[in-house]
């Protein structure tokens, strides 16, 4: 009788990369839905564009590298990158912004480093930073949340803005914003930064109709949605608690000090505005580019939190998750090296 030989163990948890990635994407859904509720259908347009581009770019690169296309593409890691890029760019940004970002993420940041598992940097965040630096105007053109709009932009106008950079009536995004909002400045973070720059107190800056609630109308809900998704990931044991907890804790502590000592925005404002939650649960936890030891993860998360606070507070950019993550990506090998756990039977810590 011919018996099949195999090496132990002979059973498997049936976890797979594909399932993990799908799980993460699934966890993004609440956030995406809330985002599209507040910022319009543009989110889905960007999503579709990003997914299409990453698939194409990944397939092309795999072909060039002589790797099997479908088995690798179907692991879902490229799609997840696409999703993260799509939710990071302004919903009404021109189509080429997200396409460039997606291509850069896959081709340069991921595949040129050797594909999944070999990239030093988080592809989505590297792409976001590239876009932010290269196209600051387009990348900061967030519309005020729709609830504030006197007249919500029709879906077709949003499509037209993304693909032709003007509404059907020929207005540019900037013009449309002027018409709609009457004010420049996009996000609450941006607003606070600008306002404090004008020697207004945070309270004064916050005392604006844009901030119906403590962290700014809309953004807090988006963040809460991502938090829910993140909690799901924790529960499903897709991610470990170390990074998000460390990051959020560190950000909270820093902003608490800032609030108490320096008349700065409060803890809740920091936690629930900008990309804090998506960063903590979906971006910083990217396994490939994050630290791999539990102790290292705590350090990694805490340092991201610190950097986010510092850049938000003192840096030139309104939000800082992408920069912080990329900076810490660089520190990962060092962190990992110095945080090797004590192996069973080894008395002294390494």
């Amino acid at each position: 009788m011919k018996l099949t030989m195999a090496s132990s163990p002979h059973n498997h948890s049936l976890k797979s990369v594909n399932k993990l990635m799908l799980c993460v994407m699934l966890a993004c859904i609440p956030g995406i839905l809330v985002q599209s509720y507040f910022f319009g259908i543009g989110v889905f347009i960007q999503l579709a564009l990003a997914l299409f581009t990453v698939s194409l770019a990944e397939a092309a690169m795999l072909t060039l590298r002589g790797r099997p296309v479908w088995p690798t593409l179907s692991d879902g890691s490229a799609w997840l990158t696409g999703v993260l890029i799509a939710v990071s760019v302004p919903p009404l940004a021109p189509w080429w912004v997200v396409v460039i970002g997606a291509c850069f993420a896959i081709v340069i940041v991921k595949q040129l480093y050797g594909g999944l598992g070999f990239n030093l940097f988080n592809p989505a965040m590297a792409a976001y930073v590239l876009l932010l630096i290269s196209f600051p105007v387009q990348m900061t053109a967030w519309l005020p949340i729709q609830a504030l709009l006197s007249a919500p932009l029709p879906v077709l106008d949003q499509l037209a803005l993304v693909f032709t950079e003007s509404t059907r009536s020929g207005l540019s995004l900037e013009q449309a914003r002027q018409v709609i909002d009457g004010a420049t400045g996009a996000t609450p973070l941006d607003h606070v930064k600008t306002a404090t720059g004008q020697n207004l107190t945070v309270t004064e800056a916050m005392d604006n109709s844009a901030f119906a609630h403590f962290a700014g109308e809309g953004w807090q809900w988006v963040n809460i949605a991502y938090l829910l998704g993140g909690l799901y990931l924790l529960k499903a044991k897709v991610i470990n608690w170390h990074i998000p907890v460390a990051m959020l804790a560190s950000l909270s502590i820093c902003s608490l000090f800032g609030y108490v000592l320096g008349n700065q925005a409060g803890v809740a404002f920091h936690l629930l505005s900008g990309a804090t939650m998506i960063g903590a649960f979906f971006i910083a936890t990217d396994p490939v580019s994050a630290s791999t030891t539990n102790k290292g993860r705590l350090i990694y998360g805490a340092l991201i939190g610190l950097l986010v606070y510092l850049i938000r507070q003192y840096g030139g950019y309104p939000d800082a998750v992408a920069f912080s993550v990329l900076l810490l990506n660089m520190a990962v090998p060092l962190i990992d090296y110095y945080t090797q756990p004590r192996t069973y039977g080894h008395g002294a810590k390494k």
């Binding site: 009788m1 011919k2 018996l3 099949t4 030989m5 195999a6 090496s7 132990s8 163990p9 002979h10 059973n11 498997h12 948890s13 049936l14 976890k15 797979s16 990369v17 399932k19 993990l20 088995p71 690798t72 692991d75 890691s77 594909g115 999944l116 598992g117 070999f118 470990n240 396994p287 490939v288 994050a290 791999t292 030891t293 539990n294 990992d336 090797q340 756990p341 004590r342 192996t343 069973y344 039977g345 080894h346 008395g347």
Partner: protein, 924 residues
């Protein structure tokens, strides 16, 4: 603060990091009690079933054994005996596939049961009172008990711990999915297990005993608790179900909070772990006297109709277990020995159950999916989270792939227990454990290589130092010989020096020889050569004896360099010979003396003579003298005869070529022949070459008058080596015929033959030497009378060819001699005969008187033989003898047949010559 013991006693448990929860699948096999199997057709019992050495076989093939009878005798090195699991006959003892992932063959006893299952005498006990530790350990040892949970470590070794054991940990965890062997054993034999534990307690006297059982086995827990009720030192603990809490290190951590140091053993922290199965076996051995011959094996999996635990006799094939429980294989069937996490797939079902076999798992491909394609690692570190040893499997994996062995060790690869948890959780389905296994093996191998290399280096350096020292010593001791030698080959020189040194006790003999040789020189042209010859003969005999002595000495003292030295000596001798040739040419015996003075200084002499020898070799003349020293040198060391002979032959051949155009050429054959005689074993080689040369010489001589001498050497060879005699004889015949033809026109030939014939019967060994010299002289004489013509001789050599059967060579030789005698008789009337006889008698015989008598007898016999031969010739050789003119034709026929062989021999001789020359050049 509570002490550890108090904490433990209060029921506190600790945790180990990591761990996984694979599907338990235990209910498949633990629903029914342990079953029994029918006796298998045969049992295969590997001698080695555990860590440690094999025992010594006590039984033979065909022997009948009783159940429980010991089959092997344990040695010292952690070895255990094995016992006959049932009564029957040993049908074979041979290597058979073993319970190993590669089914590596192990020497096994094949036992065919007789169906009676008859026990041998067992020594049952009711209590262990009065048995000391040694006795108990002895019982455990001789019952062949090895750890039944995993690696199969001999239990007696563990029990004989030199360290104080604080905690005896009993492993009833059985964390591997599917396996329920221990579970069922605890349910059914809890009391026996507790008794086994108590035996261990009495040996080790621990502070307390902890029985760890996973909380997914409530029945076993209850049974064990009940059985242990009477002994409050035995604490039965339910531990949380988590794989691999049954791992020794993990269980120790859980129950005692202690960690076994890396690279250490549990006894290092005062803990000893025994599996419940092992303790059951201990109880059986101690109380019932039963050796370990059977064990509980879980037979399970979806392809098994009635999965359950069975009592399997050790040596039962897996096939027997599977089919007894109903086995319906699926495509790509895997049969796993052990559990799904750490078990290994079997290449065949014909693998015996051994002491460590706890489960035979035959899953279908749904319950245990076939491993998928390995994907890229996403560094999720799920593996690190699952690792019970807190390793970083992901990093290890990268290092293993990159073969960064230093890094692997830095990351504690060798602390990996290969539990498989990392591979189990890996989303990329990377066979991590396999990578580690390979890496471990590679590192181990590398380390082994390193150790080997270091040892080799040490040896080399030690040797270098030793050699240098030896050389220094030698130089200090023997400055004189070292100076005179051409110090190019140090080994040679030192060898010579050693020989000289060894020879010293025999110096007087040598001195005597020198005296004699000088005397000889003094009356070199003396008319009475007799005393001179006897002296030479004496000298030769002595030298032979010396050679023998030297041989013995050398065998005792100089084994290492012997072969080298032999070659060196051979070359030296060859050179000496050459030198002698030159000497001969110069008609001066002084160098010959030098050589004779100490044959072992041949190298020195040869070196001096080498340059001249080349010249001399090209123009050989008066070689009657030349052969003597050469022969002596060659005979000096019989062992070296072969080498010497080869060189001598090669040179002789060279000389022969040159001499072919001369009349003396035939003399060259004679030394060769003598050398061959020196070493009967090499005779064949020598003979072949000699023959080849003889042929050549014969051809050359065919046109000359001296030919008949050719047959003599050939005849000499023949009796030396009966096997080769036929060939030699045949060639001799052929030559004789040729010679006859040549001699037909001559008259002196019979005279030449006669002396040779005389000598032959006297002393075959000595005869050759004597004969050679005699022949040479005879030849000279023959040359003188070469112009004469005597026809009668013609017939006689021709008659030599008559015996076609090579085995009759001896007879032929005899006949040849006889004829020679006859011819001699005829020639007796001639004037040359006395002259010819004289030198012969002078040189060869050790005892001239004896020789004379012998010669007389030989002559008489030869006469008789000649008459007979004449008759034989008339009867059987009509065709050959019909007319004497056809002789050349018939001569060619036997020649042609042997031509190939002869040519080959010549080729060999040439090749040898070249090789030797090459070597000689290299050495000089």
């Amino acid at each position: 603060m509570e002490t550890l013991l108090e904490q433990i006693e209060s029921g506190k448990l600790w945790q180990f990091p990591g761990g996984i929860h694979p599907p338990e699948q235990k209910s498949i096999s633990n629903q029914v009690s342990i079953g029994s199997l029918p006796l298998p057709e045969y049992l295969v019992l590997p001698l080695k079933q555990h860590i440690g050495a094999n025992g010594q076989l006590l039984v033979n093939k065909g022997e009948h054994v009783l159940k429980g009878q010991v089959l092997t005798q344990p040695g010292t090195n952690w070895s255990l005996p094995i016992h006959a699991p049932t009564s029957g006959t040993i049908t074979d003892i041979k290597p058979m596939p073993s319970a190993h992932p590669s089914a590596m063959p192990e020497l096994s006893i094949v036992l065919t049961p007789d169906g009676e299952d008859k026990w041998c005498d067992l020594q049952a006990r009711t209590s262990i009172d009065g048995l000391d530790n040694k006795a108990l350990i002895d019982i455990i040892h001789h019952a062949g008990i090895a750890g039944m949970g995993g690696a199969g470590f001999p239990t007696y070794v563990k029990a004989d711990s030199a360290k104080t054991i604080e905690f005896l940990v009993v492993n009833g965890v059985e964390c591997e999915p599917y396996i329920t062997a221990d579970d069922m054993l605890m349910r059914e034999h809890a009391e026996d297990i507790i008794r086994g534990i108590e035996v261990m307690i009495s040996i080790l006297s621990p502070q307390c005993t902890l029985v760890g059982i996973e909380d997914n086995k409530p029945e076993a827990l209850a049974a064990m608790k009940l059985a242990a009720q009477h002994n409050d030192k035995i604490l039965v603990r339910a531990i949380p179900t988590k794989y691999p809490s049954g791992g020794e290190k993990q269980l120790i951590k859980v129950l005692t909070s202690k960690e076994v140091p890396s690279g250490g053993i549990p006894a290092d922290v005062g803990v000893l772990v025994q599996n419940v199965g092992t303790l059951f076996a201990v109880s059986e051995a101690v109380y019932k006297g039963k050796p370990l011959i059977e064990r509980v094996v879980t037979v399970t999996g979806n392809t098994i109709q009635t999965p359950q635990n069975v009592w399997a006799l050790l040596g039962s094939e897996v096939k027997h277990l599977l089919y007894s429980q109903g086995f319906t294989p699926v495509d790509e069937q895997r049969v796993i020995m052990g559990g799904p996490m750490m078990g290994f797939t079997l290449p065949t079902v014909r693998i015996p159950v051994v002491k460590t076999t706890n489960c035979v798992l035959a899953p279908d491909n749904q319950e245990l999916a076939v491993a998928g394609q390995e994907q890229a690692c996403i560094r999720c570190s799920a593996c690190a989270d699952a690792c019970p040893q807190t390793l970083l499997p992901q990093q290890l994996q990268w290092f293993a792939k990159g073969q960064e062995y230093d890094k692997l060790e830095e990351y504690n690869l060798f602390d990996c227990i290969e539990c498989g948890a990392c591979s189990y959780v890996c989303p990329s389905e990377i066979p991590l454990v396999q990578y580690y296994r390979v890496a471990k093996a590679e590192i181990r191998e590398q380390k082994l290589e390193k150790v080997k290399a270091e040892r080799a280096k040490e040896r080399f350096e030690a040797r270098k130092v030793r050699l240098e020292k030896e050389q220094e010593e030698r130089q200090n001791r023997h400055k004189r010989p070292a100076r005179s030698a051409p110090a190019k080959d140090k080994a040679k020189v030192s060898e010579a020096l050693e020989r000289v040194k060894k020879k010293r006790p025999e110096q007087s003999a040598v001195q005597a020889a020198i005296e004699r040789a000088k005397a000889k020189k003094a009356d070199g042209d003396a008319t009475t050569l007799e005393p001179d010859n006897s002296a030479v003969a004496l000298e030769r005999a002595k030298r032979k004896e010396q050679a023998r002595k030297y041989k013995e000495e050398k065998a005792g003292t100089d084994q290492g360099s012997a072969p080298k030295d032999a070659v060196a000596a051979a070359i030296a001798r060859a050179k000496a010979k050459k030198a002698d040739k030159e000497t001969g040419k110069a008609s001066s015996e002084a160098p010959t003396e030098a050589t004779a003075d100490d044959p072992r200084k041949a190298a020195v002499a040869a070196a001096i003579a080498r340059a001249k020898a080349k010249k001399a070799a090209k123009t050989p003349s008066e070689q009657t003298e030349v052969e003597k020293p050469a022969t002596e040198v060659a005979s000096e060391d019989p062992r070296k005869a072969a080498v010497a002979a080869a060189i001598a032959r090669a040179k002789a051949k060279k000389a022969a070529k040159a001499a072919a155009e001369q009349t003396e050429e035939l003399v060259h054959e004679e030394p060769v022949t003598e050398e061959a005689q020196e070493d009967p074993r090499k005779a064949a080689v020598a003979a072949a070459i000699a023959r080849a040369k003889a042929k050549k010489a014969a051809k050359a001589a065919a046109e000359q008058a001296e030919e008949p001498i050719n047959e003599e050497p050939a005849t000499d060879e023949a009796p030396e080596d009966p096997r080769k005699a036929a060939v030699a004889a045949a060639i001799a015949r052929a030559k004789a015929k040729k010679a006859a033809k040549a001699a037909a026109e001559q008259a002196e030939e019979p005279v030449n033959e006669e002396p040779a014939t005389d000598e032959a019967p006297e002393d075959p060994r000595k005869a050759a030497v004597a004969a050679a010299i005699a022949r040479a002289k005879a030849k000279k004489a023959a040359k003188a009378v070469a112009e004469q013509a005597e026809e009668p001789v013609n017939e006689e050599p021709a008659t030599d060819e008559v015996p076609e059967d090579p085995r009759k060579a001896a007879v032929a030789a005899a006949i040849a001699r006889a004829k020679a005698k006859k011819a001699a008789k005829a020639a007796a009337e001639q004037a040359e005969e006395p002259v010819n006889e004289e030198p012969e008698t002078d040189e060869a015989p050790e005892d001239p008187r004896k020789a004379a008598v012998a010669a007389a007898i030989a002559r008489a016999k030869a006469k008789k033989a000649a008459k007979e031969a004449e008759q034989a010739r008339l009867e059987s050789a009509d065709t050959t003898e019909e007319n004497s003119t056809s002789i050349p034709e018939s001569e060619l026929n036997p020649e042609d047949k042997r031509k190939a062989a002869i040519r080959a021999a010549v080729e060999r001789a040439k090749a040898k010559k070249k090789a030797q020359e090459q070597e000689g050049n290299d050495l000089s």
